[in-house]
Symmetry: C2
Subunit: 339 residues, 2 copies
């Protein structure tokens, strides 16, 4: 099986009767080459089926035109669709996307980051702002351009493309309180290695604490699965002090809670209101449909790509804070008077 060697710049140069330098220019900065030469070169390239060798190009230019993304998980719809837009945006700039997942584990994240950087990623997309010093040190040391999505911190010099999770969580909490709910519970994501989950808890807590007659009965941290949401719901509804509303850390948890409620014969929202977070497809499919906070997933992907590209080429890019929105559907209603 003798695999005919792919044509090289050398081959093209010979066939087109120019130097390799000119061909390289014709490819990378066409305007520096006379148009007739350029035409001749293009013909030859076409005829030979030449494509630049990746390794040669990378070694000489020290750039890969590749960007890496490390996300918590691809299995959750909330990251996947943003990633899609991110990739499309990169694609228009002739950049490719390397993807890895951390499984919400900081050690794993560092490992994946190192792997992507070793594979030559020119820049990185990361989710969330807080990570162990070891990771931060690595990023700094290697001067890796990176943008952080899914959160926003005004005072921070790093580049964000996201929204303020504390504010967003406060917003949905306010909706709940305005419906007259006094006894509230929260089903949250695991906050230990997840600043978004943590900040959503903070947002809920802070908002409730401003209302004298309202109280946060409990915060149940759990993994982001339907089952876990269901179990947490069941636990909460077994307590003597039942809430009239449950605020969930994301839509998966909320959908899990509602599905379980339906199975247990507990009426949502008549007996308990439930709210979500993220606004993924699930939110419209559960019954009752989720009142939730819509997170600008697609917009984040797009903005993050632009920022990262700019960061790579110019060395700096501005953070952008995207707006969230409360989506009113059927899972949140007025607190029962008698309560």
């Amino acid at each position: 099986m003798t695999r005919k060697a792919a044509p090289t710049l050398e081959d093209v140069a010979r066939a087109a009767c120019v130097s390799t330098a000119t061909i390289s220019r014709a490819l990378n900065s066409p305007d520096k080459v006379a148009s007739d030469t350029r035409q001749r070169i293009e013909t030859v390239i076409e005829a030979l089926g030449y494509t630049p060798n990746f390794g040669g190009r990378v070694l000489a230019s020290n750039r890969t035109n590749t960007v890496g993304a490390v996300i918590p998980t691809m299995a959750n719809a909330m990251f996947a669709s943003g990633l899609q837009v991110f990739q499309q945006e990169l694609s228009t700039a002739s950049y490719n996307l390397l993807v890895a997942s951390s499984g919400y584990d900081a050690g794993n994240e560092l490992q994946q980051i190192k792997s992507l950087v070793t594979q030559g990623a020119d820049g990185l997309l990361l989710i969330g702002s807080s990570r162990p010093p070891e990771t931060t040190r690595f990023l700094e040391l290697r001067k890796i351009p990176y943008v952080i999505a899914w959160c926003y911190q005004a005072q921070d010099k790093r580049c964000f493309a996201g929204f303020d999770n504390i504010k967003a969580a406060s917003r949905i909490t306010l909706e709940v309180l305005q419906k007259g709910h006094k006894n509230i519970a929260m089903i949250a994501g695991r906050s230990a290695q997840n600043d978004r989950a943590r900040n959503r808890i903070i947002g809920v807590t802070e908002c409730i604490s401003k209302f004298n007659d309202a109280q946060l009965l409990s915060v149940n941290e759990t993994e982001y699965t339907l089952d876990a949401g269901g179990s947490a719901f069941e636990d909460i509804m077994r307590q003597p002090d039942k809430p009239s509303a449950i605020i969930c850390g994301n839509d998966v948890l909320a959908a899990g809670a509602i599905v379980r409620a339906n199975q247990l014969g507990i009426k949502v929202p008549e007996q308990v209101s439930v709210t979500g977070f993220d606004d993924i497809a699930l939110a419209t499919v559960v019954s009752p449909a989720l009142t939730t906070v819509r997170v600008p997933q697609l917009e984040m992907g797009k903005v993050a790509a632009k920022a990262l590209l700019e960061l790579i080429s110019t060395g700096m890019a501005k953070s952008v804070e995207l707006p969230i929105e409360i989506i009113h559907r059927d899972s949140l209603t007025d607190a029962p008077e008698a309560y």
Copy 2:
């Protein structure tokens, strides 16, 4: 901003008092190096914070340790979770994953394939078996190792990691028929550039044609969204000849149909049964929960990764056919007697 140049093999060699060749060996085939030399080298590498330069390595070895995946869309949960497993499996073999999406468009797919190959992908994961000759030619010409997921064709010499969509669609159809349904409709994906969608239609059609007293009233091709599923459902139920069961090309379509049915006050499954395909999270969240065919998403990701790695290193790998399974939930019930 003088960015201190990263240490090279050269630097390590000098510091460890050995040749660059030895270091390269210590890195790539440690057993070829005396253990004390290796130790010394490791210390120096650690001290200098050396990591191999990607471009140099790629140019010299002609391998990137990167594979690419071109999937129809990341936004749909069915591909995303398989991709996650695929990446994890690659990761254990020190391979990285480049991802791109085609949006179910063949032209787009070719463009993305070219882009990934240009970026040095050692191999490719592709979804589905049928593509334009132009694409096939490119793949052949460049001798790109690739594996095809989400389908399986016994007679084919290409490498598959998937299941037989025709058989799978027949299986679920048989379930429907065995419940006594005679008048059936199908809501399918767009089959033009999508062999899975096409084969599922074939499977349904073939199976029904074997039953003399049953008929396929209509096949409604539409895009894979909740709304499209809902609209198709509405159209179907507006016809004078209503089906007693609707077989859907995937869970998104089925969930969309059921949500719409609920809104219209049409009872599922009492008035119409509805079945899905894929078994994604949505299937358990809609109410009634979907009777559907479970596709081995995660297993496919894993098997595909193994096959691709083997294909890259040895030049060949066997196709594997994975089993599907019918998941019985609540959206399919007996046909009304009176019908």
